[in-house]
């Protein structure tokens, strides 16, 4: 049940935080922090237990040693729904990311005054729901968390956002809800067509023999939801707006968590449930991804709003993730996994930095900004670090991931490899544009006078340490991702033979 | 006792029930409604006795006693209510007590 605690602790933390201020003022943030830290401890406990005992293979055949922890209990047996949570290294990494970013965002919004209790609750719930997505292997429960995840994000944009926040929040909701319908339809179809009654158990469904034609359509349903969340052009229109209007913590969670859930879904389920369909659709995924990575990078080159620029770089990077997954070879999938983690660090940090600038001068227009170098050296130095991460400088995790994806692409098709390399070149164009407009020169209108505070610097240093650590010593990360990658690659390869 | 007789008795019982029911529906005075209830309950009583006699089973009479007791209890409560209503609200017409509606 400790696995459940990883979801429930943040969830109830959020619930308590919502009402905590009624009893004792300004306790909401403490409640949120404590619940997330407890969730992290639970996760550490589960991971340690799984690693030390060699994992729990109970209930899943032929996958001994892959799962670090497994929990299975009935929820509504007559409906075929059960609580089936499983954690392997891949989920574990993303869970660490999710709880870590949760803690970080709570710290960042420590001094928030507007509806702080609700904000804390929304932060906790974002973490809780995405933890649910990362853990659930009962497809109905997965879909449930998937849909639920939008609610706190919606609140964050709609309440604490900037500019046209309501419209943006609704745009976000519409895109993802419509896309979610594909997932729901496919899940219901899968659940109701079993021979032995209704079941949504992904492991049972994975063992089923579904015709390739049906698989293709089901996968299309799944992929629609995932690709909109990822997002891949042409489904990305919600993201730049959402990022631009969202508050800083919202952007961080959006980039660090929500996009990752889409990548997680693509990584996990297509190869597991629909290997035949995957074989049919993967080439299109590659085309879409390679288009997206160039397109996102090109559009980013012309942005004037710093957050929008970073949002488009997210589009480009997540398209690389899509390519890596659709490549379906070990290198590319491993690379995709690492890009996911790396992007969570670097994009979060960039949003944090831009948010800090916005807090100081009230603009994110890069034409008006400038001069961080002179006035705020800490700003400039950290900015430089994540600038290099964005353009995939070796030594950062971003490079490692992209290099692995490119390696995999060389195994799949030279053309895709070349396109990824071109996107690496364009990344320099947009990265330098952002960097030198903000950091170099002198600002005409918006002079940043105050350097980063320690409360801002702390999280940034953590993110920077993560970027460099996983870039230079990625062995642990790779070991964690390896079983999931192997399982996916084996599933795909079994079809190709 | 023949079946014909039983049917006759049952028809009579049903008639008593129907008459009682009609009385409840037709009369507005509380007291008369209570009386009609008594008549209505006497129908099943008769039916039990007749059926008991037909099958030579004492259970029918047992049921009759039970019904009788109930009727008594019901009327006792009813009369108490009637007194209370008459005393506090000066009501004897059941149609006039209709504060609880819609």
């Amino acid at each position: 049940m400790t696995l459940g605690a990883i979801i429930l602790l943040p969830f109830f933390g959020g619930l308590v935080a919502l009402f905590a201020n009624l009893i004792w003022p300004r306790t909401d943030r403490w409640v949120a922090l404590v619940s997330l830290v407890l969730g992290m401890l639970a996760l550490i406990f589960v991971t340690a237990e799984g690693v030390l005992t060699g994992g729990s293979a109970a209930g899943i055949e032929g996958e001994a040693g892959r799962w670090l922890a497994l929990h299975r209990s009935d929820w509504a047996p007559s409906l075929g729904v059960q609580i089936l949570l499983a954690m392997d290294g891949f989920s574990g990494v993303l869970l660490f990311l999710s709880l870590g970013l949760g803690i970080l965002t709570v710290i960042l919004s420590w001094n928030e005054t507007e509806k702080s209790a609700l904000l804390m609750a929304a932060l906790c719930w974002t973490v809780a729901t995405s933890n649910g997505v990362f853990l659930a292997f009962d497809l109905l429960v997965f879909a449930f968390f998937w849909e639920l995840m939008m609610v706190p994000a919606f609140l964050m944009i709609a309440i604490w956002g900037h500019g046209t926040r309501e419209a943006t929040a609704i745009k976000f909701l519409i895109f993802n809800t419509i896309a979610g319908l594909g997932l729901l339809a496919a899940v219901f179809y899968l659940g109701s067509t079993g021979e032995n009654g209704v079941t949504f158990d992904a492991f049972v469904i994975a063992g089923r023999d579904i015709s390739p034609y049906v698989q293709t359509w089901l996968l299309a349903g799944f992929a629609l939801a995932f690709m909109v969340k990822l997002p891949v052009p042409p489904f990305h229109a919600w993201l730049p707006d959402a990022h631009t209007q969202a508050p800083t913590v919202g952007s961080i969670l959006l980039a660090g968590l929500l996009l990752k859930t889409g990548a997680y879904g693509l990584f996990r389920f297509p190869a597991m449930l629909f290997p035949d369909g995957f074989a049919v659709l993967a080439p299109y995924g590659l085309i879409l991804g390679s288009f997206g990575t160039i397109y996102g990078a090109l559009v980013a080159c012309g942005q004037t709003d710093a957050k929008r620029l970073v949002a488009y770089t997210s589009v480009a990077h997540m398209s690389v993730v899509l390519m890596g997954i659709c490549g379906g070879v070990h290198f590319s999938m491993m690379g995709a996994g690492i890009v996911m983690v790396a992007h969570a660090f670097s994009a979060s940090a960039l949003f944090l930095l831009i948010g800090a600038i916005y807090d100081r001068v009230g603009t994110r227009d890069i034409r008006e900004l400038g001069g961080l170098q002179r006035n705020a050296p800490r700003f400039a130095a950290t900015f430089a670090l994540f600038f290099s991460a964005t353009l995939a400088m070796p030594g950062t995790a971003n490079f490692l991931g992209e290099a692995l994806v490119i390696t995999g692409m060389f195994q799949v098709n030279w053309v895709y490899a070349s396109i990824t390399l071109i996107s690496l070149v364009i990344s320099v164009v947009y990265a330098t544009r952002l960097f030198q407009r903000v950091v170099f020169g002198a600002s005409r209108k918006a002079e940043v006078k105050q350097d980063l505070t320690w409360r801002e610097l702390g999280p940034i240093l953590v993110l920077g340490a993560g970027t460099l650590f996983f870039g230079l010593l990625p062995q642990g990360l790779m070991v964690a991702l390896d079983p999931a990658v192997n399982a996916a690659v084996d599933g795909i390869r079994a079809v190709q033979k | 006792m023949t079946d014909t007789f039983l049917i006759g008795m049952l028809v009579l019982a049903a008639g008593l029930f129907a008459v009682g029911l009609f009385g409840v529906l037709a009369r507005r005075a509380v007291l008369f409604q209570l009386l009609s209830l008594e008549v209505m309950l006497s129908g099943p009583s008769l039916a039990f006795i007749a059926a008991g006699a037909r099958h030579g089973d004492p259970a029918g009479q047992g049921m009759f006693v039970l019904v009788l007791i109930l009727a008594a209890a019901e009327v006792a409560l009813g009369l108490a209510l009637y007194l209370r209503m008459a005393r506090t609200a000066n009501v004897t017409d059941s149609d006039s007590i209709r504060d609880l509606r819609h």
């Binding site: 009402f19 009624l22 009935d74 929820w75 509504a76 047996p77 007559s78 409906l79 | 039983l6 049952l10 019982a13 049903a14 029930f17 009682g20 029911l21 409840v24 509380v30 409604q33 209830l37 209505m40 309950l41 129908g43 099943p44 009583s45 039916a47 039990f48 007749a50 059926a51 008991g52 037909r54 099958h55 089973d57 259970a59 029918g60 047992g62 049921m63 039970l66 019904v67 109930l70 209890a73 019901e74 409560l77 009813g78 209510l81 209370r84 209503m85 506090t88 609200a89 059941s94 007590i97 209709r98 504060d99 609880l100 509606r101």
Partner: protein, 455 residues
């Protein structure tokens, strides 16, 4: 009397003891003591019934039976009785209240165990008469009116029930509930079945025998209404399940039950639609809920018994919590009185909100699973017409529950009295809310409990 019989009858015995002792204490002793002594009865009965839930069933000679349904019924009735005892008002001037409530519980217990015309009748009448007595406790005009209506209509219902039994008895010569089987095609039995259905439908408040319900709910003390809405229905539902198990003359029974069930769902929900009074709304919605249970049983689904019992059990905490809040507010709370309740009195407001959520059958509350059972059973029986009506009814229900729900959260500036709750009330509210939420997330304990009762 064997020890087994003694064990089977133990709930009735402890209830009886509690009634006698508290009745004796009532004139002199402290009101709290009376209430406490009275409460021991249902508490013990509930404990005994729950503990014996898994035991093999056995018939107690002649009149009663001791099986899983009976035990679950007794447990639910006793639990409801206990809960209603807690917020039974007014307590101070009328010391007879607690013993009467236990008496009503005893009636429910007898009914749940009934196996014979005499016990069915006796159980029904004990409930009706003790409810009557409790209804007039406030001695207001409204309560007198409600009691009078219950009296007259109850007598009509009782007479119909008795006539039904008598007709069947005339044909078969057997008064036990098993008598209905075997000679199903006899005209007298079939006529009797119709009359029996009418009598039971009265107690189950199905249209068109339901009209006393909203009036009683608004006239009687809330605890009495809650008891009438939950405990007596559970007991009657057990009888209905027993009767359904004895094949009743078909298609009279199913068709009739389905017809009045559908009528209840539609009329109950429509009448509740814009009802401004909380308790009357609950009264009408109780009619609709009875209708849901009736259509479950009428559909003849294999899952029927389980679904019906689960539905009633799932609906109980919501109704009890809602009435407890109504009791705390006092009078007949109207929509306006509830405005912003959740800000004035967070616990009561949250409990009421949760209760409404559960009654509406929305997810994350136990009511959702009740509705889920309802629909599953109807789908299983392929009763599409019933399903359609149930769906329409649920949709209508969503509307009026949500109206009240939203009102709870509205802010307003008019000063309104803060509802008064005793500690026991608060505990009851918390327990009910906890049950709604916890069973809504994980219904397995309740499902298992209900399944234990199935043969």
């Amino acid at each position: 009397m064997t020890p087994a019989d003694l064990a089977a009858l133990a709930p009735l015995i402890v209830l009886g003891l509690a009634i006698v002792v508290s009745m004796l204490l009532a004139p002199r002793a402290d009101a709290v003591l009376v209430r406490f002594v009275a409460a021991l009865g249902p508490f013990a009965a509930m404990g005994i019934a729950v503990m014996r839930l898994g035991a093999p069933s056995l018939p107690v000679p002649a009149l009663l039976v001791d099986d899983g349904f009976a035990r679950l019924g007794v447990a639910l009735v006793a639990a409801t009785g206990l809960a209603c005892l807690i917020f039974l008002r007014p307590a101070q001037p009328a010391r007879e209240g607690p013993p009467l409530m236990v008496l009503a519980t005893l009636g429910g217990a007898v009914l749940a165990m009934a196996q014979h015309a005499a016990t069915v009748f006796l159980g029904l009448e004990i409930i009706t008469l003790s409810l009557l007595a409790m209804t007039v406790l406030p001695r207001s005009n409204a309560s007198l009116e409600a009691a009078y209506k219950l009296l007259i209509l109850g007598a009509i219902g009782a007479a119909a029930l008795l006539l039904g039994f008598a007709l069947a008895y005339a044909q078969t010569g057997d008064l036990s509930l098993g008598a209905w089987s075997g000679s199903g095609s006899g005209m007298l039995v079939r006529l009797g079945a119709a009359l029996l259905l009418a009598g039971i439908a009265f107690k189950f408040s199905l249209v068109p025998f339901h009209m006393w319900t909203p009036d009683l709910f608004s006239g009687a003390p809330p605890a009495v209404a809650a008891f009438a809405g939950v405990a007596s229905k559970v007991a009657v539902a057990v009888v209905l399940i027993r009767l359904a198990a004895t094949p009743m003359p078909e298609p009279v029974w199913s068709t009739g039950l389905a017809a009045i069930g559908m009528a209840s769902i539609l009329l109950g929900n429509i009448q509740a639609l814009r009802q401004p009074s909380l308790v009357r709304m609950l009264g009408y919605s109780a009619v609709a809920h009875s209708g849901y249970v009736a259509v479950i049983l009428a559909s003849g689904a294999p899952l029927g018994a389980e679904a019906a019992l689960f539905y009633l059990a799932s609906y109980a905490p919501g109704l009890i919590a809602a009435f407890c809040v109504a009791a705390g507010i006092g009078g007949t709370p109207m929509l306006d009185d509830l405005r912003g309740l959740i800000w004035r009195s967070p616990i009561a407001g949250a409990a009421l909100a949760l209760a409404l959520l559960s009654l509406a059958g929305l997810p994350a509350s136990v009511g959702f699973l009740g509705k889920f059972y309802l629909f599953t059973a109807l789908i299983e029986a392929q009763a599409w017409a019933l399903l359609a009506v149930a769906a329409v009814g649920s949709a209508l229900g969503l509307y009026f529950y949500m109206v009240f729900m939203v009102t709870l959260f509205r802010r307003d500036d008019t000063p309104r009295p803060i509802p008064q709750f005793q500690t026991a009330d608060t505990i009851l509210l918390l327990a009910a809310s906890g049950m709604i939420a916890a069973l809504g997330v994980n219904p397995n304990p309740l499902v298992n409990l209900v399944r234990l009762a199935l043969p």
